[in-house]
Amino acid sequence: MTRAAAAAYGSRRAILAAWLVLLGVCAVIIAHTPFPTDMSVFLPQRPTPRQQLLVDHLAHGVASRLLLVSIDAVPAERRADFSRALAGALRRDGHFRSIVNGELEALRADQALLFERRYQLSPGVSAERFEVPALHAALERTVAALGSSAGLFGKEWLLRDPTGETLRLLDALRADQAPRLHDGVWVSADGEHVMLLLETAAPGTDLDGQEAALQVLEHGFRQVREELGVPAAMMRVSGPARFAVESREAIRGDVARLSVLGIGLIFGLLGWAFRSLRALALALVPIGSAVAVATAAVALGFGSVHGLTLAFGTTLIGESVDYALYHLVRMASPEPVPARAFWATIRLGVLTSVAGFVALLFSGFPGLAQLSVFSIAGLLTAVTVTRFVLPVLTPAGWHPRDLGPLDARLARLLSAARRLRRPAAVLVAVALAVAVSRHGHLWDDDIASLNPVSKAAQQLDEELRAALGAPDARLMVVIAAETQATALQGAEQVGAALREQVRQGRLGGFESPADLLPPPALQRARQAALPDADALRRRLQAAAQGLPLRLASLEPFVADVQAARARAPLTLADLEGTQLGVRVRSMLSTHGGRTTAVIALRAAPGVPLDPDALARSLPAPEGASVAVVDLKAETDRLYAGYLREAVALSLAGAAAVVALLALALRSAAAVLEVCLPLAGAVVLVVAGFAATGHALNLLHLVGLLLVVAIGSNYSLFMHGLRRGVLSRVPSSGTLASLALADATTMTGFGVLAFSGVPLLAALGTTVGAGCALALVLSALWIGPRAGAAAEGSRRGGAG
């Protein structure tokens, strides 16, 4: 071995070793990376305080555990049995924290608790209530009740609670709209469907636990259906858990399906072009390295890799294979493009692509930021591995099949197609006119367009929510504080102000957690209003004057009042296992050392709610922040913010691409030449969506940026071909490699168009179509001239 050969051998070994170490490190990182598929990717990265309240509530509140269930097509006489049997089966299982179907069985814990804690919870407890006049009135009512038919059997209860606090309490706690009862179980308003409300034991963030709960529910339903012999029965389930589990399934399915499909199609293309397994194996090297490094980079940057980012990985396959492709074509060519010129063009192409993605790096929308890191890391890895590792792995003396003939065929096609230059320009002009004329309707400014939950599923959710009387939580007052007690205290004060609004008819009603679970201070105030045993006995004696009541029989009342005076305040923990607890938890959530209390508001009929005016009328409780939140307006604002930001970033990205081109080409005319096909592609895609009635959303916009970033590679190559920078000889295979590269990119994005996740589909359609158009327009407008193409075809034919 000569010294030079030995040195080359040594550096080859060093390159291989470095590459393998890199892959190993990536493997270790990826092995420790969680791959969530939840909604976190849609939530703002740098939320405003008000958005933070929302995020806390949505992500950690009980709302994320609720499942709404409707059982359909059960004969009327079996409905109650079905509901009871299903609820019974679920109660025996541990996956649900509460199962509510209207059965009194489920209320037993509530009744015991409300009765026991009535003097802390009842809004009627005051000092006057235990003075002689009020007690006399209470005892009169008690005597009447004791003598009635029903009282004969309820007397123990009447004697322990002569002031009727439990009744008052139950009145105060009555939900605005509980579902209708049929045979003692909840049914829909039309009586046709059996309704249940479930709370999973697993929190909203534990998707595995929620999935298990859903399976238990499905299994229980099938079993009951079998036992009761109603094979026609059907179950519909809605709720965040269902959505989350389903979108995870959809995303998982997409990642697997689209990756296999993308790789299959891309390798089919390469196989058809090169007819060589070795070429395929070599192409796999940059692809695999790019995906590994990209995934590890996102994991390092974000702590986790969202499933959507991974699904987006198929596009990286299509892009990263481009560099391998250029490399293979160049190797195959008998008259290869000079290395310097070749890599200079590639470098510029990579830089323009990266410039587009860098813009997205600054997005507050975590989904876009992840996608950006993923693509940048992937592209840089792909090109580096192609440049340094691929030559090392390519056996000496091996050449892939020459694509010259393909090149020649493409040149002929191009030559024939040049007649379409003007028609294409006209088409773009028409498209521009269409896009401009519809510019008011181009954008879909509803955040629902980003929602991975299907329209049908959203409708089902609305239907079940209405049937179960779940409050329409569009407008709410959010109170945040350091402790639960302070938050409840704040809710209590706000509630007092809201009650006044209701009294004046400016507000329809509200549901406050402080009404269900009074703040400790209020509970203590009520306890302090209770007289001691001796005082109470004296007052009862005076109050019972003239009534046929035996005072001794009121001793249980005296004992209960005594016991109530010494009780510790009731807390959320005491409500475990009760329906009351479920309701309070749905309005009160503690996360990260802060407690958020949510008061849902209901407008008075015909009186629109003005959040700002309402906010001004509310007090500012000590130690708590109060905000009036219009959920719809807030999410709309959030989305509008994303969209505005995306527009700015896309323009910045496009500007960066143009600046890079200007820097490299050093000619305004050349920059214009390179950019025109890209602009044409963007206009055609936008007009295409407009003409087919598709409103564009944020992901379409991002897709357009990628069309510019990726498409610039093709127009650059075309431009280079025409100027003779890349090859003095057109048969270098450049045209074929461009066509193949575009085809693989289009495939990578194109398969996303078949995704069940709207986000991915929007991106896939835009970039897939846009890149194809960018190549075609580049070829038509700035491709090699007819004479050169013809010469190329002759040469190709001879070669």
Partner: protein, 213 residues
């Protein structure tokens, strides 16, 4: 469903079941003249046997009926007994009512399996199916109307004494949960007609209801 929470539902349901049915279910009879031929005197049948089955057949032969009642309720917590009066109604096929007029207006009703009360003790409606032990009592008492002695005896230990002209039926619940509240019901009457319904609670309180004609 909240209205159902207004009273301790289990006890109330049992109370309603007992009171609505013990009274109105067996109250009164159609006048003998209106009875179909072949079912003349509510007396000893051809075999001369007066037993539970025969009694139930007599009671079951009744249609819609309406009778006034006076009732005296003995409640330990009150110094004096409560005297109540009102009306019992049975509206075919399934509605039973006990309407108390004084001392305080109160309506107890059983309609199908829906029990309701509206009076000084509060207002509530509930389904019998929610309260299995009350449902059993109702089934048992309904069995009287239906002439179904098998069901009656499944729910109660039923002891019949006396003859057709002066019978005494003693009903003791079999369900231990029902027994914790209600120790027994005694009904006496003549033929298919009831005269007296006495309800004894386990804690010693009781009511004596006389059915007027």
């Amino acid at each position: 469903m909240d209205s159902a929470r207004r009273l301790p539902e289990r006890r109330l349901a049992i109370a309603l079941a007992v009171l609505a049915l013990a009274g109105s279910g067996m109250a009164g009879t159609v006048p003998a003249a209106a009875a179909p031929a072949g079912r003349t005197a509510p007396a000893v049948d051809a075999q001369g046997q007066w037993d539970l089955a025969r009694l139930l057949r007599e009671v079951a032969a009744q249609d819609n009926r309406r009778r006034r009642f006076v009732e005296r309720r003995f409640v330990a917590a009150l110094d004096t007994p409560v005297d109540a009066r009102g009306e019992l109604r049975f509206i075919a096929p399934a509605r039973l009512e006990k309407r108390t007029a004084s001392p305080h207006a109160e309506v107890l009703a059983l309609d199908g399996d829906q029990l309701s009360v509206d009076g000084p003790a509060g207002r509530a409606t509930m389904s019998l199916r929610q309260v299995p032990e009350a449902a059993a009592l109702v089934e048992g008492l309904r069995a009287i109307l239906a002439g179904d002695s098998a069901t009656l005896e499944r729910v109660f230990v039923a002891t019949l004494a006396g003859g057709a002209a002066d019978w005494h039926l003693r009903l003791v619940p079999r369900d231990p949960r029902a027994l914790r509240l209600l120790s027994e019901i005694r009904v006496s009457g003549r033929g298919g007609e009831l005269d007296l319904v006495e309800t004894d609670q386990t804690d010693g309180d009781r009511s004596v209801m006389r059915i007027l004609r």
